[in-house]
Symmetry: C2
Subunit: 251 residues, 2 copies
């Protein structure tokens, strides 16, 4: 089947190129819906050009408050001509435009899903000092330079200075775990493996994308990953396997 969508993603040095937190959410969405797509791999410095060329709008303004900020994931729907950005907006568009595909915002949960996705993303921040330096190392040179420079600006210091001792690493992992403790409490309120019980939804893609992201950044042999993988009895690795399976994604 010819692909009906162009999916814009940022590559890394890994053989499968997949690492980006936010693009994973769209990859899960497309797979779960059974929509065929081709991936256009775009390094950070070329995202703006690729978006403009394809009529994809900016997501927001840059920190200067003026310049448009273009991001991945973005998506072009070749059937309708729609050009979209932002994993949550893309998900709602696909739910509405292709109502015969499985919904990622099932049971009228759109508003709650938008809230969860946005609030959850903000709550990842305590983990950035553990994750960003590792991300900078897995990116290809043009993206690595861009990522290192912009994140250094955001933190006001070089990324390698964010965690300077084992004590700081342990302390930061403890803060990062707080996020997962809250998630565990919420997941425990349901009667199934997913946040909506037996029904998989975008919220699970958000959580599984975090897992894919930290695994790609840290690497399987790292001390951070080995700790993370044991939290809550290995729940997050198991959930990600369930999400992969429901979406027909391997690895």
């Amino acid at each position: 089947m010819a692909s009906a969508f162009i999916f814009f993603d940022i590559p890394c040095k890994k053989s499968d190129k997949r690492w980006s937190l936010n693009t994973w959410k769209t990859r899960y969405t497309l797979h779960y819906k059974g929509l065929s797509y081709e991936t256009q791999w775009v390094e950070y410095p070329h995202i703006e050009e690729a978006c403009k060329k394809n009529g994809i709008p900016p997501l927001r303004k840059k920190p200067d408050g003026v310049s448009p900020h273009y991001t991945c994931p973005s998506l072009v729907d070749k059937s309708t001509g729609a050009a979209l950005t932002d994993s949550v907006q893309i998900a709602q568009y696909l739910d509405k435009t292709y109502p015969h595909t499985p919904r990622v915002f099932p049971n009228d949960s759109d508003g709650l899903q938008f809230a969860f996705a946005e609030l959850h993303d903000q709550r990842l921040a305590p983990g950035w000092p553990l994750i960003f330096p590792a991300v900078a190392k897995i990116l290809n040179p043009p993206s690595a330079e861009y990522f290192y420079r912009t994140r250094t600006q955001a933190f006001g210091k070089p990324l390698e200075e964010l965690i300077k001792s084992e004590e700081e690493r342990v302390e930061t992992m403890k803060k990062f775990k707080g996020l997962w403790d809250a998630l565990e409490a919420w997941y425990s309120k349901t009667d199934g493996p997913f946040l909506m019980g037996e029904v998989i939804s975008f919220a699970d893609f958000v959580v599984a994308s975090d897992v894919k992201f930290v695994l790609a950044a840290w690497g399987e042999g790292s001390v951070n990953w080995r700790e993370f993988a044991t939290w809550h009895g290995g729940k997050w690795v198991r959930l990600t396997e369930e999400v992969d399976k429901a979406c027909g994604i391997s690895g």
Copy 2:
């Protein structure tokens, strides 16, 4: 009909006594489900005693990390003997125990609702400097003394020093409005008046309870309320009226 539940709430000096943010969520839940209850009004310093007497567990530890912290809302179900605390836990208990009543966590949304309720509460914090001094003034003496003392401890300064100028008030209102801007964005993703579209749910009780709370604290004639009531074209007052109507609550 004899009441089947005892609902523990904190009174204020207003003639209808209703003001408390968290107990409003349980009042909405009980009304929406058509469950008859009697209210036991308990001043802050007597909550622990009332809970212990009725077998109601503490919600968490106090800031000292040791002493149990008893809170309202609490609920005793006279039919089952269950004694509960915390508006979200109470809501889930009632959904599960009385499945013939309208669900406040409809469509398998329990996990998302727990997440929304917890994250939303945390996000109210920027508003406290505007709200807590006003709350202290509407409470009856024993609760007013308790509230003033514990909140002063939490902020590390007397409540009347939290907002000291019109400039600070305007600035703090602007921060508080940020919360409602985000809510507006999420509500706009649905096809109906509620966060789940046409389906009312606990999330709407959470939001309407905020509105009841700030109205009770600030008073209808206050500059804060008059500003708040115009945000997003009066959306929050209108939503609260819809929630009141769906629950058969007046005023």
